[in-house]
Symmetry: C2
Subunit: 462 residues, 2 copies
Amino acid sequence: MNTVEQMKLFMEPASISAIGVSRKTGPGEFNLLQNLVAYGYKGRLYPVNPNATEILGLTAYPDVWAVPETTDVALISLPRELVLQSVAQCMTRGIKAIVIITQGFVDADDERGQQLQQELLSMIRGTGVRILGPNTFGVANAGLKMSSSYIPVPMEVNGVGTVSQTGGTFVGLNDIRLIGKAVDVGDMCDVDIVDALEYYEQDDDTRVIALHIEGMPDARRFLRALERTARSKPVVTLKTGRSERVAEAVQSHTGALTGRDELWDIALREAGATRVADIEELSDALRAFLRLVTPRGDGVGITTYTGGFGIIAADACARSGMELVRFADATMEGLRTLSPEWLGVGNPVDIWPGVSIMGHTRKEMETAALRLVMKDPNVHAAMAVIGAFDAALGHEYLDMIAEMAREHPEKPFVYFMYGEQFRAVKELVESTGTTLAFPTPDRAFRALSHLARRRDWLARRR
Amino acid sequence: MNTVEQMKLFMEPASISAIGVSRKTGPGEFNLLQNLVAYGYKGRLYPVNPNATEILGLTAYPDVWAVPETTDVALISLPRELVLQSVAQCMTRGIKAIVIITQGFVDADDERGQQLQQELLSMIRGTGVRILGPNTFGVANAGLKMSSSYIPVPMEVNGVGTVSQTGGTFVGLNDIRLIGKAVDVGDMCDVDIVDALEYYEQDDDTRVIALHIEGMPDARRFLRALERTARSKPVVTLKTGRSERVAEAVQSHTGALTGRDELWDIALREAGATRVADIEELSDALRAFLRLVTPRGDGVGITTYTGGFGIIAADACARSGMELVRFADATMEGLRTLSPEWLGVGNPVDIWPGVSIMGHTRKEMETAALRLVMKDPNVHAAMAVIGAFDAALGHEYLDMIAEMAREHPEKPFVYFMYGEQFRAVKELVESTGTTLAFPTPDRAFRALSHLARRRDWLARRR
C-alpha cells in the first residue's frame, strides 16, 4: 500500500471503530460518536466500550475483536495509559489506520509522554500500520459527512483541503469553512504534513490546500513535497510561532522545533506556497483561489462613489504590490462623456457626479463605467467601491456582475464595500459565484496579489 | 462669536433652511429633506424651493427671505453656478453658518471651479459668516436626529465625534457608527479640521474623535490644534493618500496637498494622535477607546482552548508591541492544580485539558483560569481565546465577564473568537459593555496597543 492509499483509509473510511466513546451524550459532552451520528456519516460505525451494549442506538462492542468487520480506521479516545494496549488490539485485528485523539504524549511536559510516544512508534515500525496523532482532532471529509473531532465542526463540500497542527484551525474560521476535507496531524508521531500533501495533490475533490504549520522536524523533505504539490494546486500556508517567546509555547504544544522566521519566509516562497500572516488572510486567500480567476497582469482599475474611499483603495493597492494603472485614452474619453465637464477623471474614477449631476441612475452609471474600465487593455483586475446601506441593494448588481464575468472571463472583479449592510449585500453579490466582497480594500488587494504572485511563480517554474 | 460658538451653529442647529431641495422624494432620490424628516430632526426645518409650496408636508418657501426666521444654518444643494447668489441671500438674511453641499469647486478639474471658490471666500471675509464645504456631506448630530447627508446615514449617540475630508467615511463603517457627531470638511474653503477639533475638544458629548485627513494646507496650525485636543481626548487618525499615484488622486479630489508619508507619521505620533492604517483599524481603535480601560502596563496573559490558536495569538501579541509575560509563581501553581500533571503550563495557558481530562466544566475551568491570570501582578491585560460554535454560548460568559470587570476594573479583557457563530457570540459578550471580541488576535492586540501607546504619550506630556 503506498502513502496515498494509506491516507485514503483515514480520509475516506467506509467503516470506523470508535474506541473509548462515552455513553454520556448531550451538549457539552464532546462525544465524537454523537457528532458522527448527527452529521449522518455515510459509512458503518462501531462504538467500542466494554461498559455499554448500545450507545445512541448503535450496538456497542466490548473490544475491536468483537466488531463484525476490520474497519478502515480506528479512532482512539482513551486515557493515555490505555492507548498502547488499544493500538496493539487494533493491529492484531488488522486495522491499518489508527487515529489517536488522546493528549499527553510529546505534547506533555513529562517524560512519560515522550516514552509513550516512542513505544507507539516502535510498535508500528515496519508493519504498514499508520498512526495519526496523538493529540489530534483527526480527520474530516464533508463528502462523507464525517469528522472525528469531538467538537462539532461545520463542513461543506467546497474544494478546500486543510492540513494543520492544531484542532483550532481545523474547527473553522468566520469567513470560510475549512473543511472540505481536513486532517490535523497533531503530535505527528507518524502521519505528517508531507503525507497529507501527497494525498491532497492526488485528490480530485481538493482544489486549494490550507496548510497550518507550527514546526517541522524534517524541513527539507517537507519543502520538496510542498514544491511538488504547489505546481498543481495553491497551498495557502499559515506558519505560526514567529517570536522567541512563542517558539517556547510551540514546543510545549507539539514538541516540534520552530525555525528562524525569515528562513521560513524565503523557503516557503521559493517552494511556491502562498504565505499568509493571520487567519483572516488565510480565509481571504482561500476564497480568492476558489472564486476568482487569476489576473494576467498586475494592473488595477477602480470605480468609486466617493473620492475619499477611492483614495483609501488606491493606498491599499499600492501597499499590496498591485498597480493602479493609467487608463487608456478610449477609457478616459468614455468616462468623461459620463461625467460633468469639470470632473477630473482618473483612476480611481469617481462615478458619483455622473449620478448626482448628470442624472444617470446608479445602475446605469456603474454598469457603463465598469464596462469601460474592464475593457481597458491596461486593466487586469477591477474593483468597485460601493456603500452597502440597503440590504436589497445587492440585487441590482447581479446582472452587472454576470455581464462582467461573461464579457471578461479573464479579469477578476471584486468589491470593497463599506456601510452597515455589509454582510447582507456581500452575501448577495457573492451568490453569483464570480466575485468577492471585502470590508477593507487592503484585504481585497492582498487577496488579488496572492493570485498574481502564484501566477508569477508558476511562470518561473515552467 | 468665537470658533466654538460658530461651530455650534453647524453642529447643534435649532433651525435649518434647506435650499435647493427637490420635490422628488423616494428611494434613490437622495433627498436630504426626506432624510431629515425620516430621522425625526428635533429642530425647525424650512425647505426653500421657488417651484414648490409644500414638500413632504412642510411649507416650502421661494427664498430664504420668505423663511419666517433667521435659521442657525443653511444647507445649499444647488447647481454650482447658482451657489454664490444663494450664499449672498443667506448672508443678507443674517444666516451665519452655511453648508455648501454642491460639488465642482476646487475639487473640479476646471478654472471655473477655482474661481468660484475664490469668490466665495471673498464674499465672507471679515463678515463672521462661516462656510462648510463646498463638496461636503455637511454635518450630523445623532442627539438631534440630524444629518445633512443626502445619503441616509446610521447615527447613534455613542461618544464618537468624526471629522473627515470625505463623505465616504462619514457614511459609516461595518463595526461602528461613526456618528455620534460628524462633520465633513469637504473642500475646506473656510471651516476646516482645526475648527472641528476645537469644537470636539469642548464638546461634552464627544469622548473619542475620529479624524480622516487627505491633505492639509497649513500642517503646523493643524498639528498644534491636534496636540491640544489629544491631551483631553483620543484622536484616532486615518491619514490617506500615501503613495505617489495616490497623491495625484487626492489632488483631483479636494485640491489639498499631501505631504511625505513618513513625515506625517512622525508628526502625528508626536502630536499624540493614534494613527491607524485602514478603516478596520479605525473602527477597532474607536471601539477600544470607548469600551476598554487603559492597561497600566504592556503585560498580557492569554487563556486558550487550543494550543495552536494560543500560538497564533502569541505571534500577534509580539507583532503588536505588547508583551507576553511570564506568569508569577502563584499563577503557575494555580493553573497546574487545574490541569493534568503532564501539561506544560505557560502563557498562553491551554485550558482544554482541564476540561477534557480533569473533568471541570468549561465555565468552571475558564472562570478559574481567568481569575488566576487577571490576578497576576505581571498581567495588565488579558485575552481569552475561545471558539464560537454555538450562538447560545455567549450567555454562560456573561457572569464571568461581569466578575472580571468588578474585580479588576483597571485591566482590560478581550476575546479572540474563531468559528462560525462569531457574530452572535460577539454581540452577546459585548452587550456587557466592558469587553470586545475580535475575529483575529492581531486586531485585538493592535487595539490594546493603541490604548497603551496613548497612555505613554500622556505620561511623557505630563
